[in-house]
């Protein structure tokens, strides 16, 4: 038997690299909360790194990462240098942070946080993994503050899977920070504060607002905001909902409402709600809890990581966001057809999701067709990750941003439970889609290269059965093991 004197050359050991830099404080996200945390940290004499992924690369925006841009950004967003300048100028506090001694990196995303803990002890220290347009790297941290904000909640309806259906956070990004919104006339879905603020912002930026559609019988948000919208002559379509977005090659051209009204717009803005951006927390195995008043799943208590701003949970105004969005999901579900797309990346329809059917490039023999969410539920509580694997919903390049939340809502409804009775599908690092060549560690250690192996590095495993316990066994072992490293 081949035994390596008490050491396993192919175990992880100390092969994972030390971070290339270390900061007392790393802050992810340069919105108001992140900037405040970074500036405060620098004021206490800490070494501080503040990273922000804006400006988002054009390719990512095209995949609706991290917000639901809906293809309504102008070509200006393809000019990285111009965008960098625009983003910098849009936030005066960035300069203040730099003057306070904060190291600021724009155009830099944080795609993973790695800590030693259950199931992993091989890290030299806790690290956050970063990437910009040229490369990926890791940095160590004393404290980590996540200020990753909130992202768009998408709920599908017929025709939502075409350019021109976007989210309120994406519109705010394009209007207020990028100066790069390509739409002219928008219809806003929802009437809570987010929708009202979106309407007013759009109006202020010279965008024609055709109206707000509200499933409930009255505007839901702050009365003064609603009054300001009314004063701007922007109509509310109450007890109504978009039944279909109709469009052409460039996307949305008009929207037909349930009431029959047809509204000519080039953009539908989903402003039903925002979802706290818990991707990093969730992917690092952190805790998450459900709080309807704060926008859904929010970070739980995670030692060593502080969440600030919207990613910690939306401001609690007493409004139940989850109840509201479930009402919308029920209504838009009723207006949807079996072939309405739920997962855009993988083209999973509503019927196939609820039928737990495989993608259309696979055959569906009779036993397969007889399976459904109902038969799956008979085997135990439905798990969204299991359904994801079977249907491919949420498995695409947008990393489930467009469908994760609505799939969780649909599954809860189908299982006759409240939201949360079927958990949200998990997030995995990298929490941003990043090219192989960017993620790659091109400067890995000799230790890693020499100790690499395909699968556990046990040479006896691969000896042909007939040669076990014969003189040929050792020859095979040696030859097989030799080619494992590069």
């Amino acid at each position: 038997m081949h035994i390596n004197n008490g050491t396993d050359p192919h175990a992880i050991g100390t092969k994972l690299p030390a971070p290339e830099a270390r900061y007392d404080l790393v802050v992810v996200g340069a919105g108001p909360a992140g900037l405040a945390a970074a500036i405060a940290g620098a004021g206490e004499g800490k070494s501080v790194l503040l990273v922000d992924e804006n400006p988002i690369p054009g390719a990512a925006m095209g995949n609706d990462v991290p917000l639901l841009f809906g293809g309504r950004m102008t070509t200006a967003t393809q000019n990285a240098e111009r965008m960098l300048e625009t983003v910098f100028m849009s936030e005066p506090m960035l300069e203040a942070a730099m003057e306070a001694g904060v190291e600021v990196l724009l155009g830099t995303s944080a795609w993973g946080v790695y800590r030693n803990g259950p199931g992993i002890t091989g890290l030299p220290e806790n690290v956050v993994a970063l990437a910009d347009k040229d490369r990926g790297w890791i940095v160590g941290y004393g404290e980590l503050v996540l200020a990753t904000g909130a992202r768009d909640l998408a709920i599908g309806f017929p025709g939502w899977n075409q350019p021109g259906v976007m989210g309120a956070a994406a519109l705010e990004r394009l209007l207020a920070h990028y100066e790069a919104f390509a739409g002219k006339r928008v219809l806003i879905v929802g009437s809570h504060d987010l929708a009202l603020e979106t309407a007013l912002l759009a109006r202020d930026k010279g965008v024609d607002v055709a109206g707000l559609v509200e499933v409930r019988s009255a505007p839901q948000g702050d009365a003064a905001l609603a009054e300001a919208v009314r004063a701007a002559q922007i109509p509310f379509y109450l007890e109504d909902a978009p039944a279909e977005a109709i469009g052409g090659i460039d996307g949305v051209e008009r929207v037909r409402l349930r009431s029959g009204a047809v509204i000519d717009v080039d953009t539908v803005v989903l402003a039903i709600g925002l979802v706290p951006s818990i991707e990093l927390i969730d992917a690092m195995g952190g805790k998450r809890v459900l709080d309807g008043a704060r926008g859904g799943y929010i970070p739980g208590d995670n030692a060593g990581v502080t969440c600030v701003g919207d990613c910690a949970g939306l401001a609690d105004t007493g409004f139940d966001h989850v109840e509201y969005r479930m009402e919308w999901a029920r209504e838009l579900g009723k207006l949807s057809q079996p072939d309405t797309i739920v997962c855009q990346c993988e083209e999973v329809t509503r019927a196939d999701l609820l039928g737990v059917q495989p993608p259309n490039y696979l055959s569906r023999p009779a036993p397969m067709q007889a399976r459904s969410l109902d038969t799956l539920i008979q085997d135990g509580p439905p798990n969204p990750d299991q359904i994801k694997r079977l249907t491919r919903a949420g498995m695409g390049v947008c990393q489930g941003r467009r469908c994760r939340d609505q799939v969780a809502m649909m599954l809860a409804m189908a299982a006759n439970g409240p939201f949360g009775s079927v958990p949200l599908a998990t997030h995995r690092a990298p929490v941003r889609p990043l090219p192989l060549r960017i993620l790659a560690d091109w400067e890995e250690s000799e230790d890693m290269r020499a100790g690499w192996d395909v699968w556990f590095g046990i040479p006896t495993q691969w000896v042909p059965y007939r040669d076990i316990d014969t003189p040929r066994e050792r020859e095979h072992q040696t030859a097989i093991a030799e080619g494992w490293s590069l």
């Binding site: 992880i12 046990i458 495993q461």
Partner: protein, 403 residues
């Protein structure tokens, strides 16, 4: 539906199915572990007429069975020819898609790798399994994503790959269609023995009477068998994979090399793993977490080297699985002497591809007491008799905290 590079089987899988039908009628079998080995065994036993109950601590295929590279080309195994005979028929026999695809390519980007692949090609050809050697241009013609750095490779005229998650679910559903029961979220708490046999299995969901028991619980086999006074030496480790957004479909999706295992899925994603593993403590309740690590970056590098023309593709996920290994990395497929109606199966990290055959072997042990189609004597548990309590330390296989 046979392979160019394999000996012609003497019997079709359909003929085998007809032969075994009814051979285990009235036999009550409890299978502990709804991974691919347990489910395949359950399926084979149900095809034999047994009344099968599978107990799983969580969800079917949730551990390593659903988190692997999907490879199905394990020529070193005595089960290999049976694996190859069965795979092309599994979709039809199970009634559900597995995404099984035939044949594989292994391509080299360093001279050292090329040497190793040439050795393996000869080793296979010596066994009667056909492997064709390819030069760099031949590889580039077959693998559109390969680059100028490719020095050559080999073409297995056998083997292949399938979708692990879909296949595990297919076994589970097919078992149910045959009348089998799958009880999820139901960890086993103990055994009831009488006269040298296990007569019932206790689980949090109840008591299950058994004429025979199959223990196929992966890393948890050790703790379960210890309850029966049987020592099964196993060590678990974490292995990691990454997956990219879809690339254009290659003619053969089962392409790996450069220290990686993996495949292009039928959707087009590149799903690859490899690299250093981390030995872990094993918990009776299963792994507390399955984290991936910055090894993602090293995997990304190797995939980009393997497929330079895919280097621009986005990585969209990483994941890890906890995999058990025996001290020599070879399976244990064995029926115990005491209790004599208990059969243990661990495939030591290469269970997915071999599953159509391992289930057959387990069925044979449970029903007939011996494997009907191949010699598996060297896979018995007794080879580890007297291995010593420090076998993990001797190999450096202990968790790094203890190192």
């Amino acid at each position: 539906m046979t392979y160019v590079g394999m000996p012609t089987p003497s019997e079709t899988p359909q003929e085998t199915m007809a032969k075994i039908a009814g051979t285990a009628a009235k036999m009550k079998v409890v299978i502990i572990g709804g991974g691919v080995s347990g489910l395949s065994a359950g399926w084979w036993l149900a095809r034999s007429g047994a009344s099968v109950t599978v107990l799983d601590k969580g969800i079917v295929g949730w551990e390593a069975s659903g988190r692997n590279g999907g490879g199905a080309s394990h020529y070193q195994s005595p089960l290999f020819e049976e694996e190859q005979r069965m795979w092309p028929h599994m979709d039809e026999l199970l009634g559900y898609p597995t995404e099984h695809q035939q044949e594989r390519l292994v391509i080299a980007v360093s001279p050292k790798q090329l040497n190793q692949y040439h050795y393996l090609a000869k080793m296979n050809n010596d066994m009667g399994y056909r492997v064709d050697l390819l030069d760099g241009d031949q590889v580039r013609a077959m693998v559109p994503l390969a680059g100028d750095n490719c020095l050559g490779g080999m073409h297995y005229r056998f083997g292949g790959h399938a979708n692990p998650q879909r296949s595990v679910q297919a076994y589970a559903w097919a078992l149910q269609d045959l009348g089998g029961r799958i009880v999820q979220h139901s960890p086993v708490t103990g055994f009831e023995t009488d006269g040298g046999k296990v007569v019932a299995v206790h689980s949090i969901s109840g008591r299950y009477e058994a004429d025979a028991v199959v223990v196929a619980a992966g890393p948890q086999i050790q703790a379960l068998m210890a309850k029966l006074g049987v020592e099964v030496p196993l060590a678990a480790a974490r292995a990691e994979m990454i997956v990219t957004e879809p690339a254009p479909i290659m003619p053969i999706g089962g392409v790996d090399g450069n220290g990686l295992y993996g495949r292009q899925t039928l959707r087009g994603n590149l799903a690859y793993g490899g690299g250093p593993h981390e030995w872990l403590e094993t918990f009776e309740a299963g792994p507390p977490a399955r984290p991936s690590s910055p090894l993602t970056r090293n995997l990304a590098r190797r995939v980009a080297e393997l497929f330079p023309k895919a280097a621009h593709l986005n990585v969209i996920r990483s994941w890890a699985g906890i995999v058990e290994n025996t001290p020599d990395g070879r399976p244990i497929i064995d029926r115990m002497k005491d209790p004599e109606n208990v059969t243990v199966v661990t495939m030591s990290g290469v269970g997915f591809g071999l599953s159509p055959a391992s289930g057959h072997a387990v069925r044979d042990l449970v029903v007939d007491g011996h494997c009907s189609f191949t010699d598996i004597a060297k896979l018995s548990l007794s080879r580890f008799d007297g291995i010593g309590a420090d076998w993990r330390e001797q190999r450096g296989w202990q968790p790094s905290q203890a190192a």
